[in-house]
Each structure stands twice: as structure tokens, then as C-alpha cells.
Amino acid sequence: MIKRKDKIIRPKMEVEIAGIKLRNPIMPASGTFGYGEEFAPYLDLNSLGAIVTKGLSLNAKAGNRTPRICETVSGMLNAIGLQNVGVDVFIKHKMPFLEQFDTPVIVNFFGNTQDEYAEVAARLDGVPGVAALEMNISCPNVKHGGIVFGTDPKAIHEVVSQVRKKTSKPLIVKLTPNVTDIQVTARAAEEAGADALSLINTLTGMAVDVKTRKPRLANTIGGLSGPAIRPVAVRLVHQVVQAVSVPVIGMGGITRAVDALEFLIVGAKAVQVGTANFVDPTAMSTILDELEEFCLTEGIEDINDIIGSLVV
């Protein structure tokens, strides 16, 4: 127990994932934090556990037609279509900004084919300042023969193995929630060499404008994120933690420290904050304050004591 009467001992917040030391378990979710610079006016990037950048492809990608977003009950749908500047422009023009900070940079990426995945990973491999790669196999917009990459354990095993060969950086594989049994896909990624897993990506969803009778997204179908999906995300993280031995990064609908704690308690080593950054660009700094406050009140000296502490 921390003696509150004596001088206040600040709880230890450091966590380690696949060999990367994070000063705390809070980081943004890919695609909700741009390339970091968009949030610099609002947030001290040196206060975060890590920075996770928008998903990169081999070449620049224009993304989908609009409308691309739509609000839903306590959530939002998006079908951005993975618009990004491409891996080379990122390395040349976006990394220098990020290297100013003393915070690990996790670079999210994807490909339309296995070779493209491997090529992007290869190009990022040598880049100094890139702490880890997060491989998005789960975006509902990336189709492969009509099926999402990350729903098929065989496809996962192949593409992750191929990427694994191309990079010596820690490799985080980001899983899709839109599967019957996430333990199967999680194990496929682990066996193929993932150093860590992150989840969840968005749930596939759709909304209709009842006046025009058109889908609210030009793409008809999109990804649901935000507080609405949190119970599904917590359940999936719980299941994955039980199925694998690599560390797990949890996310889905986190807006407050209590939300982050649900994921840590079921066993996530760190969490990502997504949609909440849109609602409030200072969200992560509030979450960090609340998390410290929670540890102080509950007498928790080290955040690692919370991780996986679920009582069943």
C-alpha cells in the first residue's frame, strides 16, 4: 500500500511489449492520430507510451469516395479506404517530425497482396526511429479474393510468415474482430512469428439514411468504432490473452481510464485509444492523469500488478 500521508509515491507506469519499453501503457490507435503532428498542438507527444501512425501502403492511396464517416449511437462508422501518403513519403517527410520525440514510434501498415505487405515491411526495416511495426490484416476494406485477409487462419499464417522474414523489428499483428473464433486467428499470427498482437480493429457495420434510402457511407459498409463496441472488444481481448503467450495490446471504445483498465485487467499489456481522439484531442492526457489517480487511490504501486488481474 502506498502511504498517502507520507510523500506521494507515483505509481510505476512502465510496461514492456516485445522488447520495447513504454513509459506507460497508453498509445493512440492507428488511423485516429494521423502521423502524430496533427495532435502536437494539443498533447505532449512525449507523455505517451508510444505513437502509432496511420496505416501505410507501398504507394500512396487516395481512399474511398465520400461520405466516408457517419455517426452512430455512441460510435461511428468509417470507410476512409486507408488513404495514406505511402511508405516512402512517410519515411522521408513524416518520420523526421516523429524522431524529435523520445517516444517509440509504431508504424502501422498493410498491403493489397502478400508481396506488398512484405515490401512495405522491408522498406521500414532499416528506418531508425521506427520502434515496431503493426501489421493491419484486419481492415474490412482490404479484400483478397472477396474475403478479408485476417479472417482466414491460413492466409494469416502465410502473410505474417512472409513479413516476418523481411523485418528484424518487433512485429505486432492487428486482428480483426469479425471472425467466429478469434483464438484461432490469434494463434495463427503467433505461430507465424508475431511478437505481439493488437485488437480489435473495427466491427463491420452499416447505416442507412431512411429518407434517401442510401447507405450513409459511399462504400455501403464500414468499420464501427467507439464506446458502443467496447464490450465486444473486452471479450475478444480476454479470449486472445488466454490463447496466446505473446503480449496483447487491447483497444476498442476507450475514452476514460476506467475503460482502459477493463482491458488491462483482462490481460492487455497496453491499450490504444482511437475514436476518443476525435472527440477530444486531449483525451489521452486525461486518461493518463486518471490512470495515475486510480492507482494512487487503489494503492497500486505498479501498473503491471493490474495487468491480467481479473478475478473469476
Binding site: G34, R68, I69, E71, N78, D280
Partner: protein, 285 residues
């Protein structure tokens, strides 16, 4: 650019369905440029989840409650009640807590001093033009063509007049001003010739019509656009519009929140009908 936890100073209905809200906003008189906007957090709830974007109508100072204190800086927004968020906003009172992120986006270019300036506003699209007019009247003659469906949609025109702006009002139902679309008067004006710049904000069909006319007469045009926005800071990429030269093979998408909301018309793609559902600016509801 900052997230400001602040309070509502007043919130009044100025025309059926249109409200004007004054918000305590330190630094905004210095920071806010004509054409910029804020992201307004309706309440500290997760429903509605996302902030709502609103143009800054004007900034100003008001006396503090006590004489020894410095005057209070404020901004005003004017909004039309169209859905869940604005329904909640209309219920806000003096003293209620709100959060505003801003000022955001790029504002208007002021063009060459001396040449005539022509503003075209449709319904709630008038909002960002007021601060522009405040600035333009310093060095130019300014004219406003203001349109709406009915008289209810014609707001704050007298305030433009007080700045010395020559105003021309038209409504679709003829309940006030000329009967018909706002573009009729604009086209007449452009026919007269002379060097000028046009500034337009309003429903997308109006903006497209204005663009066609300006292109025909070779007059430079700046437009302020609306788009569905999640973040307002260039991170979500939800708010894009097509840039000039956009095609399926060489697509060009520009963030309305970062590159805009004000665009030089030449930088946009007017070829296809605009894709983005542009909210409910003005009478297009």
C-alpha cells in the same frame, strides 16, 4: 488551436429554428480569422459522440461582471437546429459548460484592396461571411447577395448593413426581397463587369451555381464548404473533397478541415457532382 473548456454566455433564437450562441473565448479575438470554425462539444456525454463543426460568426469583447476586471472575450456562432446535436444545443443556457476546439482551418484570402467584393450567402451559409465583411469593408466596397427559402432563413442581414455592406435579399417563396434564387442578382452584377472577387457559402447546389457563373465571367471565387467531420484536425480523413484534376486513376482528396473550409474555387474539382454529403448548410434541408 486549443481545446477550451468554457461556458455559454447566452443562447437565443433569432429566427424560427436559428439560434445565436455567445461563448466565453479568451484569445479568440486575436486568433480567429474570418472563415475559420470550431468543433463544439455538445455535452460531456458519449451521445452524441462527435463534436459538431460551426463557423465563427464573430468575435468580440463584453464588459466583465465587475468593473475592476478586464472585459470578457467571446465568440458567437449561429446555428440551425437540424438534428440530435443542435437539438441539445438549443437547450443550453447562460453558464452551462461546453468545450470548443479551435479556431480551426484556413480562412478567406482578402483579395486586392480597392476592387469590389461580392459575398453570396445561402441561409446559414451567411455565418462565415460576417467576419470577412468586417475585414473587407476596411478597404473595399462590399456587396452581399443573401438568399433563403423563406424570410425565416434571412438572418443577420441588418448587421451586415451596419458595416456598410450593400445587401440584396431574395427568397424562393418571395416572402421577403426578390423572389427566386440568390444567383439571379449575382449574375446581373457580374454582367455589369469590373474587377471583383466573389465569396460564397451556402448549400452545395447554390455554391455550384455560383461557381458556374463566376467561371463564365472569369471572376475569382472563394467558397467555404461543409463536410461531415469527425476530428476537425486532419486526422480522420473523413472530411475530404475532390481537388482539381481529381480522377479515378489520379485521385486527389483535400481535407475540408485543414486545407479548407475555405477553398479557392480553382483548386477544387467541379466536374462531377460533389460527392460529400455536405450537412444542412442553409435552406437545403
Amino acid at each position: 488551436m486549443k481545446n477550451l473548456k468554457t461556458v455559454v454566455l447566452s443562447n437565443q433564437e433569432i429566427s424560427p429554428g436559428y439560434y445565436r450562441m455567445r461563448i466565453l473565448a479568451p484569445d479568440y479575438t486575436r486568433l480567429a480569422k474570418a472563415g475559420q470554425f470550431i468543433m463544439f462539444r455538445v455535452q460531456r456525454s458519449l451521445l452524441p459522440l462527435l463534436r459538431r463543426p460551426f463557423g465563427i460568426f464573430r468575435t468580440g469583447f463584453m464588459p466583465a461582471d465587475c468593473e475592476t476586471m478586464p472585459p470578457k472575450e467571446f465568440i458567437e456562432i449561429i446555428y440551425k437546429v437540424v438534428g440530435g446535436g443542435t437539438e441539445i444545443m438549443r437547450e443550453l443556457h447562460h453558464g452551462d459548460s461546453v468545450e470548443i476546439l479551435g479556431p480551426l482551418g484556413n480562412g478567406f484570402e482578402f483579395g486586392e484592396p480597392g476592387e469590389e467584393k461580392v459575398l453570396v450567402g445561402g441561409g446559414i451559409g451567411l455565418v462565415p461571411l460576417y467576419m470577412l465583411a468586417e475585414k473587407l469593408v476596411e478597404e473595399s466596397r462590399v456587396r452581399l447577395y443573401m438568399g433563403g427559402r423563406t424570410r425565416d432563413d434571412i438572418i443577420t442581414v441588418t448587421e451586415f448593413e451596419r458595416l456598410g455592406v450593400r445587401t440584396h435579399v431574395s427568397t424562393e417563396d418571395g416572402s421577403v426581397g426578390d423572389t427566386g434564387l440568390v444567383t439571379v442578382g449575382l449574375e446581373k452584377k457580374l454582367q455589369e463587369g469590373g474587377k471583383m472577387t466573389v465569396y460564397a457559402c451556402g448549400p452545395m447546389p447554390m455554391i455550384e451555381a455560383v461557381e458556374k457563373i463566376c467561371r463564365r465571367y472569369g471572376v475569382p471565387l472563394q467558397v467555404s464548404l461543409e463536410a461531415l467531420m469527425a476530428c476537425g484536425v486532419g486526422a480522420c480523413l473523413g472530411c475530404v473533397v475532390k481537388g482539381a484534376g481529381h480522377s479515378d486513376s489520379t485521385p486527389s482528396y483535400l481535407c475540408t478541415c485543414k486545407v479548407g473550409p475555405v477553398f479557392d474555387a480553382k483548386k477544387l474539382d467541379w466536374g462531377n457532382s460533389p460527392e460529400q454529403s455536405v450537412g444542412n448548410c442553409g435552406g437545403c434541408q
